[in-house]
Amino acid sequence: MRPFWVRLVVVLTVLTGVNYVAWRWLASLNWDAWWIAVPLVIAETYSLIDVMLFGMTVWRLKTRTPPAPAPADATVDVFITTFNEPLDLVMTTALAAQKIRHPHSTWILDDGDRAELRELAAAHGLGYVTRSAAWSGMPRHAKAGNLNNALMMTAGEFLLILDADQIPEPDILDNTLGYFNNRRVALVQTPQYFSNVPADDPLGSQAPLFYGPIQQGKDGWNAAFFCGSNAVLRREALMQLGLVGYVKETEKSIRRALGASHSAIRKASKAASSESPLLQQTLDEVEAATQEARRRLDAGESLSEITYRARRRVDLAVQSLVLADVSALQADLEEIAAMSPVEVGAAGVPVVTDDAVQRMASRDWSPLGAIESVQAVLDALSVERADEAQPVMPLATISVTEDMATAMRLHAMGWQSVYHHEVLAYGLAPEDIGTMLTQRLRWAQGTMQVFLRENPLVQRGLKLGQRLMYFATMWTYLSGFAAVVYFAAPIVYLVLGVLPVTSLSADFFLRFIPFMVVNQLLFAIAGKGIPTWRGQQYSLALFPTWIKACTTAARNVWLGRPLGFAVTPKDRQSGGPRWSLIRPQLAVSILLVIAAVVGIGRLAAGMSEPIGTLVNVLWVVFDLVVMSILVRAVLYRGYPGGESDDATHSSTESSKERAIRGPEL
């Protein structure tokens, strides 16, 4: 009975952890060295919360039994998303997708709009979709935009989403569609597994802990994540999401416009007061129309009704403005005709028709367009969402990683998700450290964007467990800051002799060691023997990446700055090992070694005590062992097995955008 043991160890972890960290806060802080003592105890508290969230995740580990057979009449679209991956790679996946047993249509979603790929698709009887004309000049929203575009052009009840390199098994639909017999299930996610990774996985590409206990645990809380690929989604749920989002966005923009309208109109009307009483009247009428719209909005009337009425009222006012211009003009013409010996026109004074007046009063030619602030208010009084390519955007576009945000919104609307723990597609992982780092950064940035824009702790509709499951993943990405403290503390002791703990007495060891042991035991039991060491190493060693992700995402969300992706130089295959990519880690490692040497010297000189030195030197050794993986990663020359010719090598660079979860590995 694994659940019992897992839960027992979770309880023990929490007890020993709280016992240790509470003692650290209450009885062991060395206030004389607060500048290192306080950061260290905060970092330790961070880690305790992290392991408690992990404990909560695996508390409800869900092992699903295979579902009932798929309904034979379920219609499915298989989407293969691509941007610039090599054609043979895309076609390999597409042809494998064609061979999926359950009846379906296969579509290549080519964001690169490549004519050769279009022809290849046609030659093999595959569907081919590229962005419609509506997208030109509009925000493209990367993969989310690509999928949203395709959703409007296809009709299947369910969608299987595959990244260009994820080669599906023929039974991928047979084994997953059955879950949708439950009408509330919106998503079935299967693992992402990489076929081009050696057993020792030097780049930490496989994510056995995530696509295992973590997803199974989240599943137990009805919070299994959507991971962007190898997942089946219910179209109805996505469309509902898009519609709800559309209404929310539209109402927000109308409210914003109405909120700004009063001051815009007053300013304009102050400027106009001396010039034209008629303009003044028109602006008054616009003001009245917006006030009425606000009243109706508060009364809960439909947005289309409100905007239609407001526009109509404004249009009538504008028409009288145009009509006034036209009659003045007509009067001028009469005068000219009367005084001039020269004919005005061959057939007398021309008359401006009603149709012409209508046209001159329409939105694009309206004289009110001259007052930009007022025009902006009027433009926003619409339900057309003119700033997006399509009004309904089913996949979330608030983050560079659309999947997490989409799943969270689905859960908030009451939909259920399923994690199906069986590898049903085989993908390609990056084969060099540069690409790997770029991907991890991107994933971490996306997660932090969601955290800052739609914090799961305060989203309406989510259950407490779901909130914490999303929060747990986001929390892990803060580990970079804790790592810096964990590296600094031994250096500070060994070099300066400053200990952040009041004493390394029996008190310390009696509290610390049980926590450490039980903590490791939890990972061992929950992981049921799957290798977790690689993941632990990377979660600590990639601290510069995690920190950068947090700072860039915060700047992006709060200050509107671009995320500024690190671009991976194209020449990496030909160049030598790229040590520059791990410069911060190398610097920290050198500091650690120097600190160890200095610390041993101080001990020899009788300047420090043996136990403190021993503990801290061991700590340094641990840190160095953790970071040693980066040396292997930099030296890694790609997957030796299989036919790794140049084409497959370069293909991995951009194809895998979101295969790897971060520190949670």
Binding site: L321, D325, V326, D332, I336, G345, P350, W365, G369
Partner: protein
Amino acid sequence: MDLSYEVKDSYAEITAAGRLNMVSAPKLRELVAEVVAAGTSRIVINLEETAFMDSSGLGALIGCLKAARQAGGDLRIARVQPQVQMVLGLTSMDKVLTSYSSAAEAFGDD
């Protein structure tokens, strides 16, 4: 809208760059009144850089035509762009104001 003018041998050329709309129309009227008052009543308005005109702009053009005629001269337009041409056509004002292909040609015949 940027307005400027230059007095040539037999006429004055006004260049109007930008949008001839409710806000800028009064400025055009003022400028034409100024040019007429300075003694030139034969005026060409070069609309090459006028991308947009609304009903107020059109009213201003006709008002300027009146001012020029009252002073015994005339007002002509040159190098009209598509949107302005549409407005002129729609309101039949192209029967009153002929568009010339260049400012020099506008008074080329007399």
